[in-house]
Symmetry: C2
Subunit: 148 residues, 2 copies
DNA sequence: GTATTTAGTCAGTCTGTCTGACTATAGTCA
DNA sequence: TGACTATAGTCAGACAGACTGACTAAATAC
């Protein structure tokens, strides 16, 4: 086995194993969202959807939590606003700031994402064994800690 | 706990746990490559680097294996060619085709990536326990299968 | 009251993906 | 053998999503 062959095997063994299930989960979730009436939702939207607070969030906070610039987050906010998932309202605590808030459609989207995620989790546990995901999550959290 | 709060917790528990270590590993690997004399290498290059065969590969095969269009792969090949990591030569079996081959610099890059990956794997096993990665890989492979 | 910092917007740039169209070559079939 | 279809790679343009610098209005610090 040549050195080059052992490289592709080494790479595939881990980087691939982390990326592939993630990509498959993404495709499943966005595919099912499209089928359930949310065809506009894309991967980039997750940087806002996974961090927005129930009471609304500031653009700069969303950007910082997602690790992107406020201009990039503004682009995503604009897109979700055009599709009716979020809206703006002034932040009473700061005349400069606006709060990005979920609309009713946005809240419905969130509820649907939870439902889809739960369904996938149940399916995985049925296929891979009881509490498989809990144990996997525990190991991934340990890995995540070790990589800091 | 509101429904919206439970969403972010559910999402963070898994999607986040798959993405975060992957992003950290990527930053580590590309950071160390830059320090070791390969500053041009970026994440997008991995779609070629992880699949190119030791004897060279056709553009269309690389594209298919990576799941992107041949035009996108051509864009990546061009970038790596400009930086001296790959070169073209005609495919003797087909007058239309060219083989994308690693240069000496490209092979050195590959060897360095293996070294860096091995070092990270050893460090993870030291931190998380003997054979931690083997057991984690096994579970991730199981998950990957379950998601097909 | 002045200087500095912050929130958000605007415009432009870059990367990396896509599509359609094209030319040259290969394969198939009658 | 010629006509037709398919394939390999290139070209040009479009788009999504990331970035930077500059700007205005509001907040904060002194």
């Amino acid at each position: 086995m040549t050195q080059k062959q052992s490289y592709t095997e080494a790479a595939r063994s881990f980087g691939h194993l982390l990326r592939s299930p993630y990509e498959k989960l993404s495709r499943r979730i966005y595919g099912e969202l499209a089928q359930r009436g949310f065809p506009e939702i894309r991967f980039s939207h997750s940087s806002l959807l996974r961090t927005i607070a129930p009471e609304g969030s500031r653009l700069t906070d969303l950007a910082q939590q997602a690790g992107i610039t406020k201009q990039s987050m503004a682009y995503i906010v604009s897109d979700l606003q055009d599709s009716g998932y979020v809206t703006h309202r002034p932040d009473p605590a700061d005349g400069r700031a606006k709060l990005v808030c979920l609309t009713q459609r946005g809240e419905h989207l969130m509820a649907t994402m939870i439902e889809i995620s739960q369904g996938i989790a149940d399916e995985i546990n049925r296929t891979c064994g009881k509490d498989f995901l809990e144990r996997l999550k525990s190991q991934l959290a340990k890995l995540d800690q070790a990589l800091n």
